[in-house]
Amino acid sequence: MAQETSTQARAERYLEDRTLRDRIEENWVGYVFIVPVFAMFTLLFYYPIVRGIRMTFTEYSLGGVNPFVGLDNYAWLLTNDLFFYSLGWTLIFVFSTTVLQLLVGLMVALLLNELAGRRRQWMSAVVMSPYFAASIAGGVLWYWFLHPNFGFITRIFVELNMPPIYFLNEGLWPFVSLILAQTWHDYAYAAIIYTAALASIPRAQYEAAAIEGANRIRRFRDITVPHLLIPTIIILAIRTAYNISEFAQPFQMTGGGPGTKTMLLSILTYQVAFVNLQFSRAYVIGIAMMLISMTAAVIYVVSIRQEEELYI
């Protein structure tokens, strides 16, 4: 034991003694492998981000001169009612879809966990299918399903002699429809992660608890729940980020309308940039979106760090 500790200490001292240059020379293969990825990210990720930030201080137009306007674009954002309306609705949308996706996903995973073998594979292929459909297809699907003249629900109402509901226009319905459709499309993400987490819980723990006389609910609380903690944080972080950036499905369903009633930040960014051609202003809205998803990303990185350290 003592010897082991001293060997470890010596190894640590050896690591500290190496200079940065030594480490670079030892690991040149690593750099060869990483440079192409990094080059690609630089071209289409890091550089655009920086270029975008520079753009916000100018009045940008394609191929033209871009006069410096200082903080005008930021001032525009902070005095823009639509932006704040849209920010509020985006936060509601993201919060409710993320929570619903998490709950439905957990329920699906718990149900699938009761099946075994081929039956389980087939079942999960069916139940997860919405997630693998293109989100634009999800948009068309729901647009058609809720269509006030020819949709499925209207068809039921016709049978019952009831007037149709304009799900994508009337009152609070557009908000509800967008949230439920988004939940439908992406709950499988949570389900996939939870299924994997449930499968990795050692059965022996349940058996031991059962012998001790713990009932189903206690076993769930004392064994299952602790194992699901990290997956839950991961799902919350990733889904928050993805639900903020979601564009295609809500864009297809309402396009932010009627009017600007269901304007999400992603749709607003698109409209300001590519319909109004105010690229600088659009990017300022984008910065607000980035800040929200970056918060989610930081939570994610902190929570996976535990696992990551196991491998280093």
Binding site: I34, F41, G63, Q121, A133, V140, F145, F150, F152, G286
Partner: protein, 278 residues
């Protein structure tokens, strides 16, 4: 499981039945519409099932190819998805390997920036990229779309592959090769890569689906019909004000959705759980 009762079993099946119903019902309405005529689909008393009242017809599927440009759109989808998948993999395989196995200064920083790209709101970055592509003359071309999509799917590729390299390949296999006198590069190409083919294939599948399903990039970077992919074409069919042929539109949606769903159904045994973390 333990203490299993018959009542619990029934509850599980009931729950699964409800979930399946909710998952498939919107699909059902689309599939049904694609199998009847447009007048039947747009009627007040449109049939509940395609076979009712002799409404069944597969005309939508045949006229989709002859009356619209869908052959071009789906061909573009295939070209764009295949090329961007290849491009992304060429970059992601060595990158993921470096993240998983090699240690070098700056590795962690790079790794976390990769995680960040996974979670980035991509619609934001389309704004400056549009300007860059304008300067480079890449707007409105398949090449531009391919490059953009390759970057878009690359984080997922790196993420899936590094997980596999980390857990799927025993470290001593490489060490054995290194002791035999093979260089690190040689060990990678001759030992690690051949062993990783199943994981690379699974990653390629997800990358392909990511590109196939993508709407935003193609929608923003192209304006000519000839460069549209299926996703964007479907959007424009629905957005146009001319008399809508619902059954044809829905047939296109069915063909768009079918490949990913079938791929996943066939492969979920192998890759479903590898998705953890994407």
């Amino acid at each position: 499981m333990i203490n299993e009762t018959r009542r619990n079993r029934y509850l599980v099946y009931l729950g699964l039945a409800v979930v399946t119903f909710v998952a498939l019902l919107p699909y059902y309405w689309v599939v049904r519409t694609s199998m009847i005529s447009n007048t039947a689909a747009a009627g007040l008393y449109s049939p509940w099932v395609p076979f009712q009242d002799g409404a069944f017809t597969l005309d939508a599927y045949s006229s989709m190819w002859s009356n619209y440009n869908f052959p071009v759109y789906f061909r573009n989808s295939i070209i764009v998805s295949l090329s961007s998948t290849l491009l992304a993999l060429v970059f992601a395989i060595p990158g993921a390997y470096a993240f998983a196995r090699l240690d070098f200064p700056g590795r962690q920083l790079l790794f976390y920036t990769t995680v960040f790209t996974l979670m980035f709101p991509w619609i934001v970055i389309t704004v400056p990229v549009y300007g860059i592509f304008y300067d480079l003359g890449l707007l409105n071309s398949l090449v531009g779309v391919i490059i953009a999509l390759a970057i878009f799917i690359q984080p997922v590729c790196i993420w899936l592959l590094q997980g596999f390299f980390r857990q799927g390949i025993p470290k001593n296999i490489e060490e054995a090769a290194l002791i035999d006198g093979t260089s690190e590069l040689g060990a990678f190409f001759r030992v690690v890569l051949p062993l990783s083919m199943p994981a690379v294939a699974a990653t390629a599948l997800f990358a392909f689906l990511g590109a196939w399903n993508n709407f935003t990039w193609v929608f923003i970077l192209t304006s000519d019909q000839q460069y549209r992919t299926a996703t964007v074409a479907i959007y424009y069919v629905l957005a146009s004000d001319v008399l809508r042929e619902w059954n044809i539109l829905m047939a296109a949606v069915v063909l768009l959705v079918l490949p990913p769903v079938i791929f996943y159904g066939l492969s979920n045994r192998y890759v479903g759980e590898g998705l953890g973390g994407v």
